[in-house]
Subunit: 191 residues, 2 copies
């Protein structure tokens, strides 16, 4: 059923007893998003963490009328404007469907309740934050220490699926260059 994927995902982090699961399940909300629709906009306080069952989303912010892509999320990935979610402050991010999406949402209050009531969940929260930290560290180092060309090569290697599914100008933004620059990088790499 539609919550099987997220259950499996959780189970990778902590053992999930039937009791735990039965407690959690009623709090999950299934949401569908059409291509181009937004899950969240600048100024919203992010009130949910989102699990992607199906589809593809981008997470970006806007500055001087330009779009800056911070991340992509696809099947079996966990996403949110985590900074806004944690600090309860308005976020700067837009989260938008690049393809039609099937998402599972879990709200802040429920999560906090689970943190305090279910030991395992506190641990899940820790592991999740640690996991996200490691992810973002990798991206950090990539941005600081690698050339755009190297970043593109790595991205193609690590996420060949996204190279296919995401328009090139969004990938350029994600890599921190203009679409023209990425086009030339690709051309250079062919020879």
């Amino acid at each position: 059923m539609v919550f099987d994927q997220i259950k499996k995902y959780y189970s990778n982090f902590i053992p999930m007893s039937d009791d735990d699961w039965n407690l959690l399940k009623p709090a999950l909300r299934l949401v569908h998003l059409k291509k181009g629709e937004k899950l969240q906009s600048e100024g919203d306080i992010c009130n949910d963490v989102t699990f992607c069952n199906k589809g593809l989303l981008k997470c970006y912010h806007i500055k001087d009328d330009k779009e800056y892509v911070e991340a992509f999320f696809t099947e079996n990935e966990y996403l949110s404007d985590y900074t806004s979610f944690l600090l309860r402050i308005p976020g700067k991010l837009y989260i938008e469907a690049i393809e039609d999406c099937e998402l599972v949402l879990l709200d802040y209050d429920t999560i906090q309740t689970f943190y305090s009531r279910v030991d395992n969940f506190q641990k899940f929260g820790r592991l999740m934050a640690e996991f996200l930290f490691i992810q973002i560290s990798l991206r950090n180092n990539s941005l600081l220490f690698e050339s755009p060309e190297k970043r593109y090569i790595n991205f193609s290697k690590n996420r060949p699926d996204l190279i296919q599914r995401v328009p090139q100008y969004m990938i350029a933004s994600y890599l921190g260059v203009t679409p023209e620059a990425l086009s030339r990088i690709r051309k250079r790499l062919l020879s």
Copy 2:
């Protein structure tokens, strides 16, 4: 006494009962580091989190014989090669004293034991990972969306202490530019 600072730091994240504290205190190790000495080198598995009582450290890695500074740490800050620490894999980081340091160390096994035995500590671990995530997100966005000039301006504003205490070429590395470029940025900003 020497562990007062870290106790206070912990108390910012979780209530710390006398019982908790008495349990934790014996596991803390006081370490002194002279300017230029290293706490950790590339290839080491990071086995401790470190709290800085006094002094100043830099965290960097080496690539093509060049030093790339990832972070500075000073009084009342918490540091480690968190990726290596969490994943138990050899790290890429060097951690080195820029000034003589007084540090408080807490090792991996003790922390894991505390995670499983003391509820509050599990929560501390979560909050700490969340905190680090937010920190690194900020840096991430700065690197991706701001010019070196803007990064320098922000850095001067946020860490005027470090501008004074850290040699300029290390700040340049931290900001992701060459020492020459930073020198010219500073010159530009004077007019």
